[in-house]
């Protein structure tokens, strides 16, 4: 495998958060951009790759859902955009995360079933990101993964609300 340049994107994301914390008088993080990318803790590059791959899969699933159910586009456009941001942040520089092939994305005909499938996928990805955050060797990556998990938890809420809005089971 060719040598990989360590992505500093997640460091930049966390540095922006640290600046926000400082702006509100909330001290307490040593996270911030350094002149040189720090050494990556063992396993962290793989954790970032997995997060990027999970996000790429969600991008594909959401895009498939949008194609099949255009009426969901107002909800799904935001989800897809945030997933793409996760792909960008967690993909190590010099690497490409391949989206899953078309055959791997199956979207139900029913709108409610589609929302349920999406919600389950977001839940699984959120749980994986939480576990990765807990296990990460570097604090900056841990914070980025935890924040990604929080975003996915927001998606679960949004999809639950959409399911509630779709009423009693008709699709």
């Amino acid at each position: 495998m060719p040598p990989t340049t360590v992505s500093r994107r997640w460091l930049l994301v966390v540095a922006a958060g640290a600046a926000a914390a400082a702006a509100t008088g909330c001290a307490g993080t040593s996270a911030g951009p350094s002149e040189q990318a720090p050494a990556v803790a063992p396993g962290d590059l793989d954790r970032a790759r997995r997060a990027a791959a999970d996000a790429a899969e969600l991008v594909a699933v959401v895009a498939g859902a949008e194609r099949r159910h255009p009426e969901l586009q107002p909800l799904l456009a935001g989800l897809g955009s945030r997933h793409r941001t996760h792909v960008e942040v967690f993909t190590p520089e010099g690497e490409v995360v391949a989206p899953p092939g078309p055959g791997r994305v199956s979207v139900p005909r029913s709108r409610r079933a589609t929302l349920r499938v999406l919600r389950a996928r977001e839940q699984r990805a959120a749980a994986a990101a939480r576990r990765a955050a807990a296990d990460a060797g570097g604090g900056e990556l841990a914070a980025a993964l935890a924040s990604c998990a929080a975003c996915l938890a927001q998606h679960v809420r949004l999809l639950s609300a959409a399911l509630a809005d779709t009423g009693t089971g008709r699709s």
């Binding site: 966390v14 909330c26 307490g28 604090g139 914070a143 935890a146 990604c148 929080a150």
Partner: protein
């Protein structure tokens, strides 16, 4: 072992929780006590009070003195009605998300796992108060 930076981050999170407890008290005071928002405010108040107590324990266990609550806090704007109460709740959760993200970065082990959960809670609770979803809650906070 809790590092100095983890204690510092826990103190910042504790300070945010003090504001949350105070702020939800203010919010509850302007809402119809029988309304759904008041019920949610009371639930949030209890969550933040428990979290405040837990963070005080964390800080004490590191042989540090927990940052105390102030007698009152200057809020960004007066809270005069339901809309103001909801806006204050959004601000509270946003600030808690920022400090919890910082605590995740600075801590390890059980404290980090707790902070990961708290960050998720702040993000979803903020959403329930009308905050816009973001790709990185607590890190790309709304300004």
């Amino acid at each position: 072992m809790t590092t100095e930076s983890a204690v510092e981050a826990a103190q910042a999170a504790l300070a945010a929780e003090h504001v949350a407890v105070y702020g939800y008290g203010v919010s509850g005071g302007v809402l119809d006590p029988s309304g759904p928002d008041a019920v949610r405010v009371r639930a949030a108040y209890e969550v933040h009070r428990a979290r405040r107590d837990g963070l005080e324990t964390v800080v004490r266990s590191a042989s540090a003195e927990p940052v105390p609550a102030e007698a009152g806090y200057a809020l960004d704007r007066p809270v005069r009605g339901p809309a103001g109460a909801v806006a204050l709740a959004r601000m509270i959760e946003d600030r808690c998300a920022v400090t919890h993200a910082a605590l995740v970065a600075a801590s390890t082990g059980a404290l980090r796992s707790d902070a990961v959960g708290w960050l998720g809670d702040a993000a979803t609770r903020g959403l329930s108060w009308g905050a816009a979803p973001t790709a990185f809650p607590g890190l790309d906070r709304q300004r």
